[in-house]
Amino acid sequence: MPGFRDLLPEEAEALRGAQESLLEEMRRWGYRYVVTPMVESIDVLALGLNAEQQRRLFKFSDARGEVVALVGERTIPVARLVAGKLRSAALPLRLCYAGPVLSADEGRFHQRRETYQVGAELVGASGPAADAEVIALAARCLEAAGLRRYQVDVGHSEFFQGIMDAVRLPAAVKAGVRSALAARDFVALEELLAHTPLRSAEHELLLRFPALRGGAEILEAAGGLVRNRRSEQALAELARVQELLVAHGLGAVVGLDLGAIRDFDYYTGVIFEGYGPDLGRPVAQGGRYDRLLERFGRPAPATGFVVQLDLVWELLARGGRAPLRRIDAALAWTGSGQATAMRLGSTLRLFGMRAVVDTEARRDREARAWWRAVGAENLIQCRGTKTVAWTAHGGRTRSLPPEQVAARLAGALS
């Protein structure tokens, strides 16, 4: 099926490794792991998704005729969980999750319809400290997954909303400006604003939207241009978040992006995206969504993010740094060597090595052919109980007692 594919060991193991590193980092920050179902009622998902996002869901009806969908993200299911089964749990709650998400869109090119996400949500905490915490966590997650070069762009959805409040435009033009920005269509935006006689600082800001990036200095520059409380408040919050991220030790990787364009109806505050080198899409994204939980009957501020595991793997593979997960030892045997092979295999696994014991007796050339097929670092041929023949990849063969081989391999490992 287009958009779906099998993951072979190399990629599947790397993805799982990245997922475990991410969840482990989240665990260290006190985030508890939850699992939500692959399938949700469309009524639940509709509380958080706009019409276009709902269109992209894989929908079907269950045996009772109820319309259900395969989840396209897990923030909404987690919100349902926090307002439902966890409603008596004290806020703030720190939760994390992982799993595949699906999209019914048949993408062009090599676009995937099944992707893998790891996410974290901090529910019940508002303010810059909470915003900075999830941004810092997202950054540390990227590091934990093995990315050495990345940047995090932090913006604020209220900065834009304030400009839209303040800018003097007819309602119809305002709606046009919103949809042009949502579609990232700056040609349409320019046209709309060119036909309005009033020029103001807000006009200029809207026109320069994709270029409103930089360090702390951009806050001052923008502060000199906006004259509305909503945008000023947003700039003040961003300044505080930036300071806190420096305290988190992340000053060097964080940039400010006042022109960040995201789902304006969903996000209500600080938003952010993580980028790796030379990848056309953000590898992590998140932000504050303070109005979602109330739709489930438990009003609470919330912020969170997801990391796109597929893209993490793509970045690691591109940098040639995909974690290598070789099999450490292939154990071949003949005759009474079978029991030795079993024992030695157990010992190696106790040391955390990956060891494969042959299922049939093989000697010499056949054993070597099997070794190559297994793709292991070491071949250990067991012909009796006293000594085994150990061949390291690209090395010579030595005859040693099995416990010495185990000790040497374990020593090489540490």
């Binding site: 062009r108 090599h110 320019e190 940039g255 899409r281 591109r318």
Partner: protein, 232 residues
């Protein structure tokens, strides 16, 4: 992948953009190519002939990489970051919904998207449309959306070429097609009854390029914008 290779380390894939700091631009084959090359030349980015680019498909010079792809593929190259910037007709953008930024109207390559019917047809304004309109086009998404916005039921027949032929052989009531001068339509005895939209060449940009290499990409955008405005 063969099973035996399952454990080997993946060869580091070359970065799709080659040298760091280099800017890559995707240009479309066909009608817009001469205008796009003229723009690059006016902007002082690169002097390149259509023949040379057509032969090599990828030309790299002094920090700029130009690649030649089919018009409909330009958004894909830009969305996936294989190109930082792309030049493409607005008509192609109508049909694709990617994550790129549409940055500049480059003004060249103007054409209109029109609804045309056979000269002898009774169809004219919306009041004359049949309950179910059959329309052939190369732009099914735009066409369906336009009729839907007008509350008209439509059956869109997607064709890949010679759209003008479809009404003459009775396949459809009319066609939705791009026209610059209207000559092809007249030659095929077709009459324009409505304009769905106007298209020109646009400059589009990859979202991550704009964020991770802001200065270099914005500088290139500014140069191309300047050149496009001066050509007017």
């Amino acid at each position: 992948m063969t099973p035996g290779k399952g454990n080997s380390r993946p060869a580091p894939r070359p970065s799709p953009r080659g040298v760091e700091g280099e800017i890559s631009i995707a240009l479309p084959t066909g009608m817009l190519l001469p205008g796009a090359l003229r723009l690059l030349s006016h902007a002082g980015v690169m002097r390149l002939s259509a023949a040379e680019l057509g032969r090599r498909l990828l030309v790299e010079r002094s920090g700029v990489r130009v690649i030649l792809v089919r018009p409909a593929d330009v958004p894909a190259y830009v969305d996936h970051g294989a190109a930082d910037l792309g030049i493409v007709g607005k008509d192609v953008l109508w049909e694709s919904n990617g994550s790129h930024y549409e940055l500049v109207d480059l003004h060249f390559g103007p054409c209109r998207l029109v609804l045309a019917v056979p000269e002898e047809s009774k169809l004219n304004g919306p009041e004359t449309w049949p309950p179910l309109m059959r329309v052939a086009t190369k732009l099914p998404r735009t066409t369906a959306a336009w009729f839907e916005a007008r509350g008209q039921a439509v059956e869109v027949v997607r064709l890949h070429g010679s759209v003008e032929l479809a009404p003459q052989v009775g396949l459809v009531d009319g066609i939705v097609d791009l026209t610059a001068s209207g000559r092809t339509l007249r030659e095929n005895k077709l009459r324009v009854t409505a304009t769905l939209g106007s298209s020109t060449a646009r400059l589009i940009g990859n979202q991550a390029s704009l964020k991770t290499r802001t200065d270099a990409v914005q500088a290139m955008v500014a140069r191309l914008r300047e050149a496009a405005n001066h050509a007017d």
